[in-house]
Amino acid sequence: MKKNEVPQDEGNLSKSNMKELMYATDENGEYTTALSTGWEPKTIALSNSIDDINERVAEAKSQVKNGEVSPIVYFMELHKMDVGILASYVEMWKWRVKKHFKPKVFKGLSDTVLSRYAKAFNISVSELKNFKAD
């Protein structure tokens, strides 16, 4: 890549005035560095994954509403986590976390267990308990 080809597209970074450093060659073929504001293929890739997350969050929300899963699933998706990441934040086995996805099991959870989830999601126990998916 030549220095004058370093992409300066509108990107997710340009919104917050961040620029990334890239290596490129100057007119004599010598390597130098240049700042880039963004690159379209990356911007599209990132917005693709953000759309994917939003879709997952919306689906989890409707599942909570229909009583198919517990609010834990909703907050897990909201925080871009999967079962493995959540399990390591709450320091429980994955299968135990999965059990807590069931609304029936969730209702019977003690505040001690719930507080671990609440801490992972940065909310209070009552916010987790009383989450209404409307």
Binding site: E20, M22, Y31, I44
Partner: protein, 332 residues
């Protein structure tokens, strides 16, 4: 308290932290040199591990390896410590700052408040330097940022103890012994040999074979998983490839810059022309990203489009195989 640390922006976080810490300790070493001598160029495809609900592709070795290899090859000593307790981790960091030692940390990205929201994923192999502390904040030099920044005490604790794959467990590191005279030539040769060995490894998921394997899988994705998932996989691949200076094109350009520097140090003209070749391969990685992005932008449903990008990728694999064979020959 504040140490007299100088921030330089870099393309990749681990290179940048290593280069900045070593410069602070009197060894003037560029980012491409760190990357090259630390054998930072790598490829591994891990279809059985899912990251963001897509198969994992890593363009770099395990976190910490670049700096460790660099240190070993240049005869530097680095102290690394992980912590079981948050209190001890804080205490050790504060003690370092009191002793005027800017300290490298492995951190999770999710709670880095100075990153734009879109960039905050559960990715735990990020690196930064803490160079000071105030009543409320830690002073941070994050090498992918243009200037220095800050995190509150609470935020720094969170990122140091992020959970999930590669959990940093408060890990901190800093050079304890940097000799004034280092032998770059032999380190460069060892490092290049290592990278050639990695990229030409006889394992199906590593190096050029790994790239070829991914190309083959891409052809199957739309048939096996449907368009939606296939597009998601492809988008994830491009993200891992080009996000903040890592991966495909970006890494090839840093490696080409390293070969250019190495050519001068070793007085080896062949490395200079190989640097040119690596630059061209880097451009092809970027073309691949452009064409892949067209697929998931248009939500294209033709299997044909997937075959086209797969062809591009396997062409890259062929070129890299030839390249690393030539590189190996050039230094032996």
């Amino acid at each position: 308290m504040e140490t007299n640390f100088t921030h330089h922006q870099s393309a990749h976080c681990e290179n940048g932290v290593a280069s900045n810490l070593l410069k602070h300790n009197g060894l003037n070493i560029s980012e491409p040199m760190v990357f090259g001598i630390g054998s930072g160029l790598f490829f591994v495809y891990l279809p059985f591990i899912k990251v963001n609900h897509a198969p994992a592709i890593s363009y770099r070795p395990l976190p910490g390896q670049i700096f460790n290899k660099l240190a070993k090859r240049l005869g530097l000593k680095i102290k690394r410590t992980k912590f079981a307790s948050v209190a001890n981790a804080n205490k050790a960091l504060d003690q370092n700052l009191k002793d005027n030692i800017p300290t490298g940390l492995q951190v999770g990205v999710y709670n880095l408040s100075y990153f734009p929201d879109e960039y905050r994923f559960h990715f735990n192999a990020h690196n930064l330097v803490v160079y000071g502390k105030t009543e409320t904040d830690y002073l941070i030099s994050d090498p992918v940022m243009e200037t220095v920044t800050t995190l509150t005490h609470d935020e720094l604790e969170k990122v140091r103890f992020a959970k999930g794959a590669f959990a940093p467990r408060g890990q901190m590191y800093y050079p304890v012994n940097v000799p004034t005279n280092v032998d770059f030539s032999s380190a460069i040769i060892k490092a290049i040999k290592n990278t050639c060995r990695d990229m030409l490894a006889p394992a199906p998921i590593i190096g050029v074979r790994g790239i070829r394997f991914v190309a083959k899988q891409i052809r199957k994705w739309p048939i096996k998983h449907g368009t939606k998932k296939a597009n998601h996989y492809l988008a994830q691949m491009v993200r891992m490839q080009e996000e903040i200076g890592t991966g495909g094109g970006g890494f090839r350009f840093i490696y080409a810059a390293f070969l250019q520097e190495a050519a001068a140090i070793l007085n080896n003209e062949k490395l200079k022309s190989l640097s040119l070749e690596m630059t061209q391969i880097g451009d092809l990685w970027r073309d691949f990203a452009v064409d892949a992005s067209r697929i998931y932008k248009n939500r294209s449903t033709q299997a044909d489009a997937y075959n086209t990008v797969a062809d591009q990728l396997s062409h890259i694999a062929d070129l890299e195989e030839a390249f690393f064979k030539k590189l190996k020959a050039a230094i032996s």
